[in-house]
Symmetry: C2
Subunit: 336 residues, 2 copies
């Protein structure tokens, strides 16, 4: 039987190869009508995305890779448990790789996975990644890839996050509602989609409630705990914020430690809210108000989509962004 | 060149094959003198432990596996960071596999690693593992294996732990010194070397200070948080202990949560000490007295030994137990 390729689909439909390719990738450039025609024909003729992909799909390693920046973070441990709960059902092994926030390490790990060691990849990007060609390369080899949390929205695949912008906006509004007027933001790298969105949500709330934006109150936190601790101490001493919105739970922990050292009383002198899946949030002194992400469910969803791509011949990963809702859990650290 | 095997070594030295084999494994049955003779000759003739091992050592995957029971535990995340710090220097990748405390999963993962996917294994056993033949099997394939934390002391390799017995003894004595008379122990599975030793240290301290042992005050905790929470609540309601020694940090967290729900005041009504690398221990309400293990250093040491076995042809992993000291850090949860 003659193999079906994009060219053949294009010939039959009398449209360009690039249109077929874009339609299969669900590009916004292509009309809904054309997309439906292309997909119907591709399905009818049993079109296989590319020979590499199908050969890899046959030579199953029964293993998927999870690439994450760090391990000492409850969000990731919960997400991994979610991923493993699905992998277990499917009889797959899960390999975990850590990038320690290094772009070069991420590239090296992705290259290591080219060789059929795994059937698919779930990834949350390192904070130093700004070039995505290593990911396009691995997709080119037919290895399905799904993003979660720290995503790249320009790549042609599914990405799963929480409502980072809205949550950051709500977190900041919550601080303002509790009486804060000088709110600092402990920011995670702007390279990251989540860093960018959380910053924007913070700025939007300030703007909407007519609070001035002070650039020196936006702290670009690092991957070094000691550095963050020092940055936060300087912030507290020199800028005397009355509220902190932390983009990541370990920044909030550093803020607690710095406040303790400087005898700043939470929540009296300083209110703190943080994105966090910290198990001990309710046991801290004072208990920490959090934006809690459904990390386990996100892991399950990411794995479910990856397995669909692995199991269903005709299921193509396309550019799609799935958003889960976070929950603001009010505790003592922001009480009036 | 004729290959050098154990038989040849035995012939030249005029001793039995079994003596040579035992000498190379550093068995206690063999005199120091004989061992030295065997090792000197093996070294002179460039003896390679076994053909499987040497072939694997040639076909390097430049990858090591770390097999651990769970990820949401600060001990393991720190240990992994220690392991990765060494692997990074050596240009190796680290794969992390989780057993979720399942013996069957551990066996499946170990079997998966037979095929040359990794060059060596660092493992901390699952709490349901009581048979070790899967580990002997992988050693038989020439894949070096080093234990850390949850070890099997009968296997012919290096195992690295902290001074679990002494630390548990000191923890219990600390509670007694702070005035506790009815001390409960939240125990981790007796299957585990660490579970057994921590229990024995607790019992020894009670005995030495002439406190009665009440079996119903020793709670065999599970891998389910909800179950542990219920078990601890029943313990607190029915047995009214004035002290708790927790073998693992998540049991201490459950004890905090149960105390909170029952309005039991820590440390006034109940003092708590726990093995823990919890980053927020000092920020809890009240701050938690811990036995803190040098987890990062343990990871580094385990990796260093594994890499020695990978890099030095003549370095054989032998039955050796390396012990690191833990530190008792006194905080509010056990104050008078």
């Amino acid at each position: 039987m003659e193999s079906v390729n994009i060219k053949k689909l294009a010939n039959i439909l009398n449209i360009s190869i690039s249109t077929v390719s874009k339609a299969l990738r669900d590009s916004h450039d292509i009309s809904k009508e054309t997309k439906e025609k292309v997909i119907a024909l591709a399905s009818e003729l049993n079109y296989q995305p590319n020979p590499h992909a199908s050969s890899l799909r046959k030579a199953k390693s029964k293993t998927i890779a999870v690439i994450i920046p760090e391990i000492a973070n409850n969000y990731f441990s919960l997400a991994i448990n979610g991923i493993e709960s699905i992998a277990q059902e499917k009889g797959y092994h899960v390999l975990i790789y850590l990038t320690h926030e290094s772009y070069l390490k991420e590239v090296a790990l992705i290259r290591l996975l080219h060789g059929g060691r795994v059937d698919g990849i779930l990834i949350s990007l390192s904070s130093t990644t700004t070039d995505y060609s290593h990911l396009e390369e691995v997709q080119g080899k037919g290895l399905p890839l799904v993003f979660f949390d720290r995503v790249c929205e320009n790549l042609n695949t599914v990405s799963i996050t929480t409502d980072d912008y809205e949550s950051a906006y709500n977190a900041t509004k919550h601080l303002i509602g509790q009486g804060c007027k000088k709110i600092a933001h402990l920011m995670i790298s702007k390279n990251l989609s989540i860093g960018n969105k959380r910053l924007k949500g913070y700025l939007k709330a300030l703007e909407e409630l007519e609070l001035p934006v002070d650039e020196t109150m936006i702290i670009n936190c690092t991957n070094e705990e000691e550095t963050n601790f020092e940055l936060i101490k300087i912030l507290l001493q020199e800028k005397r914020p009355d509220g902190i919105f932390a983009a990541v739970e370990r920044y909030a922990i550093s803020a607690y430690e710095a406040s303790k050292q400087l005898n700043i009383s939470i929540p009296k002198d300083l209110k703190i809210i943080s994105f966090s899946n910290l198990q001990t949030a309710s046991l801290l002194n004072p208990s920490l108000t959090t934006i809690t992400q459904p990390a386990f469910d996100i892991g399950r969803q990411a794995a479910t989509i990856l397995f669909r791509a692995l199991e269903e011949k005709r299921y193509l990963l396309k550019n799609e962004h799935i958003v889960f809702k976070s929950e603001l859990i009010e505790r003592e650290s922001t009480s009036k």
